[in-house]
Subunit: 229 residues, 2 copies
């Protein structure tokens, strides 16, 4: 019997915003895997640290974690190989995913490599989008409003095209793009009601108007743009 | 000391997909409030039923719960008044919200009425969007893809405008609009890769290609449209 790979959504940062299901799986598996920067500690591991018992084998998947840079396919190839060996030995693995595994998460690349050959179960999690909205006291979308999620590294024209109408929007992955996006929102007349949210639900959380957003902003930051009335 | 109103995201349907935080609050408050149809049982209450101890006072907020119909403001006015009286007596209230409170949830209307006069805390939850993606094995968005969330009751032109490009999309609140939306996706060349998901993570879950989607579909159903390569 081969093991199961769980793609565990661990939520936006507050360790209490993990689901009962992810918590149950996390505390029962004997191997966890998680994305980690090329050097230094993993944010995903830090989020679940209060729930770990210290006996689990840990597979850190080292990769570049900056806005606009994507890890080389070989990084996922190697991680998938290492995880497959554990599964083939009959052991379950929980891959930790900040927020939700299938919303801009790197788990999709492990899923693509392993789901045809192994049992893989995806456990959805609370995303940073709804966590930011909750913390800022700003509903994301109501009634029949359209909500568009736009990565900030896209070109100006691509961002503007999604913000020209009345749709609500969340602009993600700000990083060094925060000044550009702020200027663009100003030109489109959508800056006044927008809110900047960084590290929603973490101890380092910041919520501010666009004027006070740091430049550059961290990778885990976003701008909430309400629908135009 | 007045009480706190908690807007509790209770997740998409599986009772185990509630967060540890929502579970803690749910099991400690003495009053819960939840949306319920004009007649019959509440889905939100059913989702959390395994976690209730049977001693809590329950406030059912009766309202029309069909795609395209929105409750009259008086329904929220009355519910807010009833909840405010409990809070003013120093008792906390947990308002149950399917999925996430601020993503197309009716909690936004209680929040608008009570957050300026009372302590209100919003606890984000797992949304049906990411739950459907997890269950269908379909990532919602990768890298710098744009993701657009479109309510099906919108006119054809409004839906088509968001689906003409390459963006990934989720089409929500299908109800009696499923045939219309299916035809539209066909015309736009986006039907083949789309997946229909109903009641994600519930016992009644259905996942199918667009051809097999029921017509009409339930309110809690959606179509996942992947980004065009």
């Amino acid at each position: 019997m081969t093991g199961t790979l769980f793609g565990l959504g661990i939520g936006p940062g507050d360790p209490e915003l993990i689901t009962l299901k992810a918590h149950r799986i996390l505390t029962r598996v004997s191997v966890i895997a998680f994305p980690a920067p090329e050097r230094g500690p993993s944010l995903a591991r830090r989020i679940v640290a209060p729930h770990l018992n210290g006996t689990q084998r840990e597979i850190a998947i080292r990769m570049p974690l900056e806005a606009g840079r994507f890890p080389a396919p070989e990084i996922y190839d190697n991680a998938a190989r290492e995880i497959a060996a554990v599964l083939d030995a009959g052991t379950d693995v929980a891959a930790l995913c900040e927020g939700d595994p299938f919303l801009y998460g790197s788990f999709a690349y492990l899923f693509a490599r392993l789901s045809t050959t192994h049992r893989v179960e995806v456990v959805p999690g609370v995303s940073s989008l709804t966590a930011a909205a909750a913390r800022a006291g700003r509903p994301l979308a109501l009634k029949n409003e359209v909500l568009t999620v736009v990565p900030a590294p896209l070109p100006d024209e691509a961002i503007a095209a999604r913000l020209q109408g009345r749709d609500a929007a969340v602009i993600l992955k700000l990083g060094r793009h925060v000044g550009r996006v702020r200027a663009l929102l100003g030109q489109l007349g959508r800056a006044a009601d927008a809110r900047y949210v960084e590290h929603a639900t973490m101890a380092s959380e910041q919520i501010a108007g666009l004027d006070e957003a740091p430049d550059p902003a961290p990778y885990f930051s976003l701008i909430l743009v309400p629908a135009r009335p």
